[in-house]
Each structure stands twice: as structure tokens, then as C-alpha cells.
């Protein structure tokens, strides 16, 4: 197929093109911000027989609080027992933060709270009032320029399936704030609280080392 034919073939499927422009991520975000997620979340609660029947108990009620997420003040209704990962994903639509184990083991939910990496699955949202939360969505500059660590990951193609990637990147960014010039071993230690099921650790380390280098260079320039 010549290039011309190829481009014609693409032009001939406008429907598909439209679909492609709505990414899965944006679709989910749209759904969440449109309020459908609220009902789907309560659907999830209803589906759990363990939670069912507890709804009327004291303390279930949500409270409207303001969170500083990615530099913005976000007002959100939060349950007493709600974790930050839950709030970020299902209330604020920040689905870049992944939930893997939900048990403080895998690290895919890692976010920065006041610049320090935390497992957001194991932080009560009510405890981060007045603190600065940074997720993967808030890492790039406002003009869309990627963070040096994100760029390093792209340059080195560090991840396979990349489910764990946001967690790794946030942890690495937090670690590099305390140690901007680590050895490979030190960086490995710094991200040892994050697991990759593809067992892609060697390439991840290479990519994050590149990110560290990018960071040093950008702060010099």
C-alpha cells in the first residue's frame, strides 16, 4: 500500500477517527465529572454485602472538605473511612493513580504528600487536609512539557504494561528531591516499595536514572 492509499484509507473511516479521539482515560474522566460516577460508586457499595446494612450507622456520612491536589483547591465530599486513592480516582477523576493491592504493598497508588511519597491506598483522605497532594496528572508543566522523569521514561521506554508506572514515577520524583544524584543502587533502594508485575525492573531503573539525569540538567539550565 502506498502512502497515499494509506492516508486515504484512514480518511475513509471518519467514525473510527472520532472514536479514537476519545481516549479511554478521557472517557472515564468525563463520566466521573458528569456525576455518573457518584451513582456507580454507590452501586459498588450496594454490591458489597458487608457494607450493606452499615450505611445508616454513625460516621458513614460524607463531609465536604477542600483538598489541595496538583496545586488546585478541590472541594469534595469525603467519607470518614475513605482512602486518598479512592478520593483521587473515584471522586476527583484522577485515574492516573492506580489501585493495585490496596494493602500498602505494591506502590502503584504512590503519590506525593508535601513532597514525600506515600501509598495513597493507606492514607485517610481526611488526614491530608491542609497538605499538598501531587499525583501523576500534576507532574507535567502547565504548557504540557513533561516532567524530566516522565521524559526519561519515554526516552528509555522503561515500562512494559505500565500499570505500575505512575506509582514508580511519583516515588522516584519524591526520592530524587532528597537525593538528586543517586547511584543505581541507591535509586533501586529508593523505589524498593514499588512492584512491577512485568518484572521490568532493570529497564525501569535505567529509565528513572535517565530521568534523574534530566532533572539535574534541567535544574542546571
Amino acid at each position: 500500500m502506498t502512502d497515499k492509499l494509506k492516508s486515504e484509507a484512514i480518511q475513509n473511516v471518519p467514525q473510527e477517527g472520532v472514536l479514537k479521539s476519545v481516549s479511554r482515560r478521557n472517557f472515564i474522566k468525563g463520566v466521573i465529572s458528569s456525576g455518573v460516577a457518584v451513582s456507580s460508586a454507590s452501586y459498588l457499595f450496594r454490591a458489597s454485602s458487608l457494607l450493606h446494612g452499615q450505611q445508616p450507622a454513625a460516621g458513614v456520612g460524607e463531609r465536604l472538605i477542600t483538598l489541595n491536589v496538583n496545586g488546585q483547591q478541590r472541594r469534595v465530599d469525603v467519607m470518614k473511612q475513605e482512602t486518598l486513592a479512592w478520593t483521587l480516582r473515584y471522586k476527583l477523576g484522577l485515574t492516573g493513580t492506580k489501585l493495585g493491592c490496596d494493602r500498602a504493598e505494591c506502590g502503584s497508588c504512590s503519590v506525593l504528600i508535601d513532597d514525600i511519597p506515600h501509598y495513597s491506598c493507606s492514607v485517610l483522605t481526611h488526614t491530608v487536609r491542609g497538605r499538598k497532594v501531587l499525583t501523576i496528572e500534576g507532574l507535567a508543566a502547565e504548557d504540557g512539557t513533561l516532567h524530566p522523569v516522565q521524559q526519561g521514561v519515554i526516552d528509555e521506554q522503561g515500562f512494559q504494561c505500565a500499570f505500575c508506572m505512575p506509582g514508580f514515577i511519583m516515588t522516584a520524583v519524591g526520592f530524587l528531591k532528597t537525593n538528586p544524584n543517586p547511584t543505581r543502587l541507591q535509586l533501586a533502594h529508593g523505589i524498593s516499595g514499588n512492584l512491577c508485575r512485568c518484572q521490568d525492573y532493570d529497564k525501569i531503573l535505567t529509565a528513572l536514572m535517565r530521568g534523574a539525569e534530566n532533572m539535574r540538567r534541567s535544574s542546571l539550565g
Partner: protein, 355 residues
């Protein structure tokens, strides 16, 4: 493990900003209260619905529970670490690194960076056991039942106790606890009747005393601080943690020692310095971190050499009763105690990594 992928069961959450307020809340709600420090042990229990507290009191907003203070002139009487000080803050504190490095070494080997960033020293010494039967909600002795599943004929007990078991064979998983015992730390507890200060080794209890908890805190009590006296400041320290993976794992066993020696010589060439003073503690061998007093008494005044180390190791495991799958813990403990006295040539590689 019962894995339920949704939010925790509902509870009432209180976030006091002073110890006095926290204490009032604890008194008000009695045994219904769950005290939340870093939360990393707590959330497992709550998410799995194994423990179902009605009220959670979150201590993270109490500033007075956080940070390291020096005691006396220029820290001449040691330091006081607030119970809500994170493990990362403990690891990076200049005075702890300089004078009480044993604790920094131990804290740095706890779990993962994110957990050390959030987990607290008070929580680390007060966390519950890792016995998976108990944590999965099986109605065992520790949970108020009348059987130990780990010690049953088909029980999986590779990580369990070899010493001081009494019906329950669970072990204490804390890494910082043996270091604090070796440093002769004191735990400061606020009770209804006022402040109570106990020796580190007396903070922990075995199943013979209380089978439902690993420490002496009663409902209403609050661990507020840990004091480390200057007695062992700058002594020779040894900490080693054995685990299945090099990072992010609980100990199969760990050992901590603080030692002061005199004279000339080195353990390698047959000459040896004399052990003047020593404190040594092992954890994950029993339901409480063990202070090995008999070993301390036996090696005091002896040359710090391999023969003394081997004698100490044999003495340490006297009375050990292995279960079906944890016999390895006996030679492990023997060797760890020996190394804690003679040294392993160099400290563990990990302990020298900057975090």
C-alpha cells in the same frame, strides 16, 4: 486473606490536635476505640473486616507527639522521640545517626520507603503480629478462641516462635523494638492515672501474660514518647535483620546489640578486647522481643572473640522448642547472637545505603 476491594467499613473518625484531647476521646469511647498512628498495620485489619472498631482516633494531627528532643544539657541525658515521629525522620535524624545509630540502622530496614515515610516509631513497636491465621480472622487463641492453627498438625509455622510460646506461637515483627531494648530505652505512657514510664523490654508481653495483645497498653492508654538515655551513646552497635527478600519484608529474625569494650586486639587474630558492658536483644523469635540477659551476664568480662560468640549463641537458644517448619530458626538465632557479639566482618550492606 480476605481481599475486599472497596472502602473500609464505616467508623467515626476523630482527629484530636493535642494529647489531652486524644486521652479524653480514649476515655470516652473505651474499648471501642482504635488508635491510629501511621495506619499501615491498622488499615489491613479494617479493610479485611477482621477488626471492626466503631471509633478511630487519628493521632497524626498532634504536633506534640512528633519530633526528637534532646534531654539535659546538650543532650547529655539522651533524647526523647515523640511516638508519632516517622521512621524516615528517625533514620535521618543527625543525633540518632551520630549517637544511637543502632536505632537508625534498625529503622532503615523496616519495610519500604513509603512505609517508613508514614509509619511511626510508636506504631512500629505497637504493631500486631503477622501470623496469617490470626490476621485472616481465624478464631484462634489470640482472637479469643481456643485453638492455635499455626501449631496444629497441618499448620504453616515457618515464621513462628521458637521461644516462650504459650498456646499462641505468633511472634513480634518489629525491627525497632530490639534496637530500643539494646539501647535501654524507656517508653512513656499516658494512662488515666497519669504518666507511666517503663523499660523497653517491659512494654512487650508474651501470651502467658496477655494472649490478645503484644504490649501492655490497655484501652485508654497512649504511648506518647520513647526516651533513649545517653548510657549507650556512641557504643559499638550491631544490627542484623534476616528476611526472605532484601527489601520490603518482615524479619524472619533480627538481632540488636550495644557493647562497650576495653583493651587492645581484634577478633580476627586471636587477640581480643574485653567486653565491659553489653545489651543484646532478638526479635521474631517469640511473641515479645527478647532481651538476652543470660547472654549479657555470661559474656561480660570475657574476651570479644569467636569462642565467646559461640558460647553466647548456644546459651541464647537454650530451651528453644521448634515447630514443624521453623527448626531453622535455632541455628539462625545461634549465629545471629554470635555475630552480634563478634561482628560479621562488616555491618550489613543495606545498612550503609542512603535512603
Amino acid at each position: 486473606m480476605a481481599v475486599i476491594r472497596d472502602v473500609m467499613a464505616a467508623f467515626e473518625l476523630f482527629q484530636p490536635t493535642s494529647v489531652a484531647d486524644a486521652q479524653k476521646l480514649l476515655e470516652q469511647h473505651g474499648p471501642d476505640v482504635w488508635v491510629l498512628a501511621g495506619g499501615l498495620d491498622s488499615f489491613d485489619w479494617l479493610k479485611d473486616r477482621i477488626k471492626k472498631p466503631k471509633v478511630v482516633v487519628d493521632l497524626s494531627g498532634i504536633g506534640e507527639l512528633r519530633g526528637v528532643r534532646t534531654l539535659g544539657n546538650d543532650g547529655g541525658d539522651g533524647i526523647e522521640i515523640g511516638a508519632m515521629t516517622t521512621l524516615t525522620e528517625v533514620v535521618n535524624h543527625p543525633i540518632i545517626k551520630q549517637k544511637y545509630d543502632l536505632l537508625a540502622q534498625a529503622a532503615e530496614l523496616v519495610a519500604s520507603p513509603q512505609i517508613r515515610n508514614q509509619g511511626t516509631i510508636g506504631g512500629n513497636v505497637s504493631q500486631d503480629t503477622r501470623c496469617w491465621y490470626y490476621r485472616s480472622g481465624w478464631p484462634c487463641y489470640r482472637a479469643g478462641g481456643n485453638i492455635c492453627y499455626a501449631d496444629a498438625p497441618e499448620g504453616r509455622n515457618r515464621e513462628h516462635a521458637i521461644l516462650q510460646a504459650d498456646r499462641c506461637v505468633a511472634v513480634n515483627p518489629s525491627d525497632s523494638a530490639p534496637a530500643l531494648i539494646a539501647l535501654d530505652a524507656k517508653f512513656v505512657i499516658r494512662t488515666r492515672k497519669g504518666e507511666r514510664v517503663v523499660d523497653a523490654e517491659d512494654y512487650f508481653v508474651g501470651p502467658d501474660i496477655d494472649i490478645t495483645r503484644l504490649h501492655i497498653l490497655q484501652p485508654g492508654d497512649l504511648l506518647t514518647a520513647i526516651r533513649i538515655p545517653s548510657t549507650w551513646a556512641g557504643a559499638q552497635f550491631y544490627f542484623e535483620k534476616i528476611r526472605d527478600r532484601n527489601v520490603w519484608d518482615f524479619p524472619l529474625m533480627n538481632v540488636a546489640s550495644a557493647m562497650v569494650t576495653s583493651g587492645d586486639g581484634s577478633p580476627g587474630d586471636g587477640s581480643a578486647r574485653t567486653i565491659d558492658r553489653i545489651r543484646i536483644s532478638v526479635n521474631a523469635a517469640a511473641a515479645r522481643p527478647l532481651r538476652l540477659k543470660a547472654v549479657e551476664d555470661a559474656v561480660r568480662g570475657k574476651p570479644r572473640n569467636v569462642a565467646t560468640g559461640e558460647m553466647a549463641g548456644k546459651l541464647a537458644v537454650q530451651g528453644a522448642v521448634p515447630l514443624q517448619f521453623n527448626t531453622y530458626k535455632i541455628p539462625l538465632m545461634r549465629n545471629l547472637v554470635k555475630r552480634a557479639i563478634v561482628g560479621a566482618g562488616s555491618a550489613t550492606e543495606e545498612a550503609t545505603w542512603a535512603s
